[in-house]
């Protein structure tokens, strides 16, 4: 079952001017219910436009956007309710923070939904819990937080709306490895708690391979391929043509295979590589795990 689906969607920026650009060209793609889908593609491949379509920020020029099988533009006046069901975290969401405390900022979305104060405070607490913000941080001004904390506060602001479909555009861009880990595990936690569907846009093959169930590769305003990590990464040549690459650890493992080390072909994460290597060489060879 697809939670959300695009059917023959086309979109151009600035139509009728010299700056006209084709962002999405007759795109049809589905996002499976309850799965974490990774949307990967080079800059300008149409990822962000596609993501804006999912919650009705951008209206397709032709084609349909379906949520649970219903066209979200059936009644354009009701697009607001679609935005409550589909939560969108934009790139660098920390720039949207504006309230005087983190708690108030997280409750901005739920307040707009018109929920009761009790329900709002429950949601704020749960969302803060998922992203790992403590009560001390909730009382602070969002501008006093560190970069990673700001990012998590902004993501919590969308999670508190408890969307059935959570869409995140480059949620970990510009964060350090620890920050990336916290953000992605918070997203995975959210999915497990709410049983919701998640779409993540990213450049990082390593992160995508580690956290996503399904990968969708975009190139030049269209969908190049969709499938599991194994499926997608087995098309290394095609990925390279669109300016993408395999995860570094996969490339390393392939090199080792060429040199005669009998590691498996489908290794996409450092953890899997660690397991495979210790199996071959024993614990002795890997005393120091980084």
């Amino acid at each position: 079952m697809n939670k959300a689906e695009l059917k023959n969607v086309t979109f151009r920026y600035m139509p009728g001017t010299v700056y006209e650009t084709l962002a999405l060209n007759d795109v049809s793609v589905g996002f499976e219910d309850g799965k974490i889908t990774g949307l990967i593609g080079h800059t300008g491949s149409g990822k962000s436009t596609l993501v804006g379509m999912l919650n009705g920020l951008i209206r397709p020029m032709s084609g349909e956007v379906l949520l649970d099988g219903e066209n979200i533009w059936e009644k354009p006046k009701n697009i607001g309710s679609v935005r409550f069901r589909v939560g969108l975290v934009m790139q660098y969401p920390e720039y949207q923070l504006f309230e005087d405390t983190v708690e108030k900022d997280i409750s901005f979305g739920p307040k707009n939904m018109g929920l009761s104060p009790d329900e709002i405070s429950r949601r704020v607490k749960e969302a803060a819990d998922i992203v790992g913000l403590s009560g001390k941080e909730l009382a602070k001004s969002p501008f006093d937080l560190s970069g990673g904390q700001k990012r998590r506060a902004a993501i919590a602001g969308v999670m508190a709306m408890e969307p059935e479909l959570l869409v995140l555009d480059e949620p970990a861009a510009g964060l350090d490895p620890v920050g990336r880990e916290t953000v992605f595990s918070a997203i995975a936690d959210y999915r497990n708690m709410r049983n919701s569907t998640v779409v993540i846009v990213s450049h990082s093959m390593e992160d995508m391979a580690r956290w996503c169930d399904v990968l969708t590769v975009m190139a030049d305003g269209g969908v190049l391929m969709t499938g599991s990590c194994e499926d997608v990464f087995s098309h290394a040549e095609e990925l390279k043509k669109t300016g993408l690459d395999l995860p570094q650890i996969t490339k390393l493992m392939l090199l080792l295979r060429e040199k005669g080390v009998p590691v498996g072909e489908n290794i996409y994460t450092v953890e899997a590589a660690y397991a495979a290597l210790t199996e071959i060489f024993g614990k002795r060879a890997s005393l120091k795990r980084i």
């Binding site: 920026y13 409550f84 720039y95 949207q96 979305g109």
Partner: protein, 277 residues
């Protein structure tokens, strides 16, 4: 939001586009002076022809110019009406209760309209349409550089202006992004009363200010890192020189102004057409 164009520079290749920004600044001032020199029917006819020629030479589609005129149609109508009803004179054309319309009033109204139109065409063609904002601030700086002698911080003003212009599109982009982000969190900008709508802007304005200050701070640091210390001893990457065409254009413009003065004098001497008092 993306469709807002500031500066309205219209890229084309015309003799006016190729002039030095300094020349165009002076030409714009002369053009304004010319519109105010005109006092007689023939002078205004000459001014109208001048305006049409200017549009033709600049290769800017008349459509674009008309679009720029739209916001000032109201001012034009207003001035014309005031002139029609409030100008006294000798030839009474129409009278109804306290309203009196004189021929002089009609003349004045027509003259003022032509004056405003040429004023707008002249200044916008010489300045905004054919000169990029950066070239314009550069030209202003060089034109005003003699004022540095009396300690006017000309360079600093020009730098401030070009930085401000440079950040207009960036901030528009930023506002667009923040608006989308808040829309995604359920802000509704398009319904409710005035107060509700004004309140809906708070989530946009605060982040926009925060990011503007952050950018200003970063830019200041970056400029300092590159040893920026003001205008003293600073050279330019693109140094423009006044050429033959610049002097030719200036002479042409001055000659046009002189011709207008002569027309005025002859017109009042021999009573040709109507002459404004």
């Amino acid at each position: 939001m993306k469709n807002i164009s500031i500066g309205q520079y219209y890229a084309a290749d015309s003799p006016i586009h190729r002039l030095d920004a300094r020349t165009k600044l002076i030409l714009a001032i002369l053009c304004i002076v010319c519109t105010f020199i005109c006092k007689s029917t023939f002078a205004f006819v000459a001014l109208m022809i001048f305006g049409v020629l200017l549009v033709l030479i600049s290769r800017i589609p008349p459509k674009v110019i008309f679009r720029a005129m739209k916001p000032i149609v109201f001012i034009m109508l207003f001035t014309a009406l005031i002139n029609i009803f409030w100008t006294g004179g000798e030839i009474l054309l129409f009278e109804w209760k306290f309203i009196k319309v004189y021929a002089e009033g009609l003349y004045n109204a027509a003259f003022m309209t032509v004056r405003i139109i040429v004023l707008i065409i002249g200044s916008s063609i010489f300045l905004t349409y054919t000169t990029t904002p950066i070239a314009l601030t550069d030209g202003t700086e060089r034109l005003l550089s003699p004022l540095k002698k009396i300690k006017v911080p000309v360079h600093e003003f020009a730098m401030m202006m070009s930085i401000a212009l440079r950040f207009v599109p960036t901030l528009i982009d930023e506002a667009d992004r923040i608006m989308s982000a808040q829309k995604a969190r359920g802000t509704d900008f398009s319904s409710g009363g005035l107060i509700k709508r004004a309140k809906a802007l708070i989530p946009i304005i605060i982040p926009l200010f925060v990011s503007a200050f952050r950018r200003a701070d970063e830019l200041a640091t970056a400029m300092e890192c590159r040893c920026y210390h003001g205008g003293e001893g600073r050279t330019k990457l693109h140094v423009t020189h006044l050429g033959f065409s610049d002097f030719f254009a200036l002479i042409l413009m001055i000659a046009f102004g002189a011709a207008l003065v002569l027309i005025n004098i002859y017109a009042s001497k021999y009573g040709l057409g109507y002459v404004m008092p």
